[in-house]
Symmetry: C2
Subunit: 366 residues, 2 copies
């Protein structure tokens, strides 16, 4: 009898956002009529420069990617305002970087702290490496991190503390002073997840100078418009980066992904316009959703917002199903620990998608 | 002080094949003059159908890939002659499948058996999961697996046995009866690496019926011509597959990789022609290299062949450097455990590349 490791037997599956193809075939909606506001993607589509670069390199896909990522790493370093020795780039978005953090530092029985609700993939990935989650608290009403709950959760076995800012799915920011307090209270690696930092127009790279235990996690899946190409990166002290490179898979960023990432980094106008559009779309959606009497929407510094649907009397599962029947995908947050079955997360779309979404939301909720 | 896990401190780095860009800049050779016979890729280039499918889907790369891989999995199952429940598909070529095997089954201190020389990535990946390598022996002179050396290496802690057929880098096949003997001698998972099976025109899928501990590992990086797109798969009993899906990363196959893989599977003519060309090229190269008095080339059932260069008096490192200066990349096998510093591996090229390579080899060796 072949049996898996004990931890695998007990693992909760990760529940991802749904794709357009899945929804189209499940609900019989035409593919190009679907509005996807469920996965915090860039509604502008990819950078035209990225598309162009891919087309120019298609004849090379029979060859292995570069294992030496120096070109990509240098350009990420420049974008981030650090040195190349502070950067690790990985495949599978930020998820591989999380996995490599686990592989590099997590011993069986080590703890990691996650304030709830937050991105569920931290827990999914680190449990596989024998990590034990310890939960702290995000204050949803104030949309702020409960810093004391994090400080109180620290033990001698704490290996990582995850601080997502802006936080997914709540949209709130963590104050730099609070991050500093936590960095100074521990020798654990404090993973500041800045997947969405561009939309908040602040970042925490300046803390790197005085805090060798800071690890900033980022992705090309959001403002960079390359969720489908799976590229992520981390920013940290050269020691941490060097240890991680020892275990990182050698070829996990595809050839076309590297090319697309570099072309996007060099397309400054695309990044600027994407940020501007997403922020404008967020403000519009926030205003419009605020007008619904039975919905409570939380102000967000990201490209999505959390909506409390308790007052509609519908569970998130039913509400999102009704929306999907009408061609709209938003995120049912039931699988996020720390939230009950009455929360959804809405990503920003183009202005036109937003307007159509609000119209459809009115059919379902009012 | 941030310290990695003990196993990470002791890890040997994996030494990958060199890319064209690296060699071009290091040796000042023009990019399009370089002949890459170092990484066992498909010299025909990618399937035109794969390229076409990518071009048609470029506007979608801002969206996450499907997490439900049912379409790809069904087509792989059909190609392999099994059911979809026997298949797991993963990103990063076969390397992610290896990693997922480790995550699913390997406990700290478990052993895995590798006959040397063989593909070094098994060891690189599984050591990270706390696995302890136990070496068996590939008989290079006969180019056959020393089956007894494998059977003798089995202990109660053996979790995996790796059998690469055709074996990388030696090119020899493992007889089906030998695989069966090993399957029946253990409850460990026997990983039969068929990355190159198309070139040998035999496979071991029929053993699945009677052997729940068989795991067949495959890739789209070789005859499928998609090394740059990073797709691999495994074939095994539904139990093994289901356990592995619990830990597999959700989005690790890029959107374009899925699309390219499916288009290639449906391009039967491309697969047939690629196989034919590689076999013809292999036979030609074998004949030509056999004519060198100081080289000893081993018959191969794959798309590469092992060459013993002792008699040239040059180390593989120096010989490959001389070749690189002249624009040819072959694999220096020094980093393969079980081989000394006097072995190279030559991948098949197009007939034209083969001829140019033989000419250049004459400049260096004779």
């Amino acid at each position: 009898m072949i049996k898996p490791r004990k931890v695998v037997e007990e693992l909760d599956p990760y529940v991802p956002g749904r794709s357009i193809d899945e929804i189209a075939s499940e609900y019989g909606v035409e593919l190009d009529k679907i509005i996807k506001l469920g996965s915090n993607e860039n509604p502008m589509g990819p950078s035209p420069q990225a598309v162009k670069a891919i087309v120019e390199n298609l004849n090379l896909i029979n060859q292995y990617p570069e294992s030496d990522l120096q070109g990509l790493v240098s350009e990420i370093a420049e974008y981030s305002g650090v040195s190349p020795e502070n950067i690790i780039a990985g495949g599978d978005g930020a998820d591989e970087i999380l996995d490599v953090l686990g592989k590099t530092f997590m011993d069986e029985g080590d703890e990691f702290i996650v304030p709830l609700p937050s991105y569920m993939y931290y827990e999914f990935t680190l449990k596989i490496h024998g990590g034990v989650p310890v939960y702290a608290r995000w204050d949803i009403e104030k949309n702020l991190l409960d810093v004391d709950s994090v400080l109180e959760a620290i033990t001698p076995r704490t290996k990582f503390i995850f601080l997502c800012t802006p936080n997914n799915p709540t949209g709130g920011l963590i104050a730099k002073e609070d991050i500093e307090r936590i960095l100074e209270a521990t020798e654990a690696i404090v993973v500041v997840d800045e997947a969405y930092f561009e939309f908040s127009e602040v970042n925490n790279v300046d803390l790197l100078k005085d805090h060798p235990n800071l690890f900033i996690l980022r992705t090309f899946s959001k403002v960079m418009g390359l969720a489908g190409m799976r590229i992520g990166y981390g920013i940290a002290s050269p020691d941490i980066i060097e240890y991680m490179y020892r275990v990182k898979p050698v070829f996990s960023i595809t050839k076309l992904s590297q090319i697309a990432a570099r072309a996007t980094l060099n397309d400054e106008e695309y990044i600027r316009e994407s940020t501007k559009l997403s922020i404008a779309s967020r403000e519009y959606l926030y205003q419009e959703i605020s007008k619904f009497k039975t919905l409570r929407v939380f102000p967000s510094k990201s490209n999505y917002m959390l909506v409390d649907v308790h007052e509609t009397g519908m569970k998130a599962k039913d509400l999102t199903t009704e929306l999907m029947k009408r061609g709209v995908i938003v995120r049912d947050c039931t699988s996020f620990k720390g939230l009950d079955e009455y929360w959804i997360r809405v990503s920003v779309g183009t202005m036109e998608e937003d307007e159509r979404f609000i119209g459809i939301l009115k059919e379902v909720v009012e």
